[in-house]
């Protein structure tokens, strides 16, 4: 098997998969080359990730990377989420074959986008207060 046991386990039993009703933020990324789409929903409490769910269209590694990433980012503060890199996700999967590294990249991009969405919504709220 060219994939690690951890990757297979995440693919077989994805954690935190599916829609989240009324999330605090949503982030999505599409890999322009392979067409994979990852979307993450966040619930934020006191500046940290309190709950995260995902929906991903793509190959097995992309689905597994999404699942692993939900465990990586649980409890993370927004600052750390904003600079999330793919290496941590790849490590959580026990590594990826070189031609599947895009799986961790698209997932980290989507999570960074979700962090930006939190900031954007917070900014909107502040503006709402000022108005």
């Amino acid at each position: 098997m060219r994939y690690s046991a951890a990757l297979i386990e995440h693919f077989r039993n994805p954690r935190n998969a599916g829609l989240m009703p009324d999330p605090d933020a949503v982030g999505e990324a599409r890999d322009p080359e392979c067409g994979d789409v990852a979307r993450f929903y966040l619930r934020i409490r006191q500046g940290r990730v309190a709950e995260v769910r995902f929906q991903t269209y793509g190959c097995g590694p992309s689905i597994a990377a999404s699942s692993a990433a939900t465990e990586v980012v649980a409890g993370l503060d927004l600052g750390a989420l904003e600079v999330l890199n793919p290496e941590g996700i790849e490590a959580a999967l026990g590594g990826l074959p070189p031609d599947r590294r895009h799986a961790a990249e698209v997932v980290s991009m989507a999570l960074r986008a979700a962090a930006q969405d939190v900031r954007r919504r917070q900014g909107m709220e502040r503006e709402g207060v000022r108005a």
């Binding site: 829609l19 990852a38 991903t56 689905i63």
Partner: protein, 384 residues
Amino acid sequence: MKRRVYLDHNASTPVHPEVVAAMLPYFSERFGNPSSVHGFGREAREGLDIARDQVARVLGASKDEIVFTSGGTESDNFAIKGVAAARGRGHVITSRIEHHAVLRTCQLLEKQGFDVTYLAVDGHGLVDPDDVRRAIRPNTILISIMHANSEVGTIQPAAAIGRVAREAQVPLHLDAVQTFGKLPIDLDAIGVDLLSFSGHKIYGPKGVAGLYVRKGTRMIAVQHGGEHERRRRAGTENVAGIVGLGKAVELRERDMAGEATRLTALRDRLWTGVQARVPGVRLNGHPTERLPGTCNMSFRHVESESVVLGLDLSGIAVSAGSACTSGNVEPSYVLVAMGVPVDWAMGAVRCSLGHSITAADIDYVIECVVPLVAKLRELSPVSV
């Protein structure tokens, strides 16, 4: 032990035990070089002769029209380059859904100054013989069409294309790697001048194949360095492999008709079962004019590699219709040429059945496919 179901027979097949038994003596006792004049050489030569007879008989050809090669890819290369080299310049007609062995070779010819027409196909993957007729030019030197497509299984109207070729006096190369030993092939009725065939698609060994070359076909060798294969293909023959190919052909001659009927029923059982229980699925390829064991299905909003991986975890081997290389996913060029929309093409999965497959296997596959596709769709943001 976990159940294992191999549905990738268009990629390769297990070597039949009788084929293995026929090959074994040619690794040890009859190991001589068939070009040697001594007894050891003669024994090896005898093995080649028997195999050539077996292949020639099933094709209705004469022995000296059979050239053994190292694989279907070499056979296709030899057919096209051999004719092109003999003519020096000219125009070749092929289709957009050929195997890369044909397409890449034709692209090379273009770089060398030849003209190539790549014919479009219809939604079922069929080449229109009238398109072939319209594409013929005064300088057309070859028509190269695959008998049946390896991905979707569509069988071309070879006899109608052959008539067009004959009328125009243009040689016809039929890439029959997927049909040889699976369907009857009448060389004269079709009007074939060159025919590629292979061993490992029909329960023979890998690394051995052949090209039928009709007497009088203008072509020259593309591999030099010896007098082998009547000076058409230099290199010591893969004797054990060729003996195995001959035996495989003999066995297919015996089993082919019954197997075709059985596999057609199983193929249709698979499609009917999946179609009844999975929404958003389509069959790729011709509904009836299709290889007995081939069922290519597209699951919309699901990426084919995740289906392949999911089924693999249940012990089921199928192949993906889209190919991901270096992080770049391309939908199958065959499906794209057939006009299959990209979001369907990305979810294409090919199941190709063979002699070990039973109705119980097919039912098991259906039982695994239904929840897998449902789960992947649940995970997918593009289906909601």
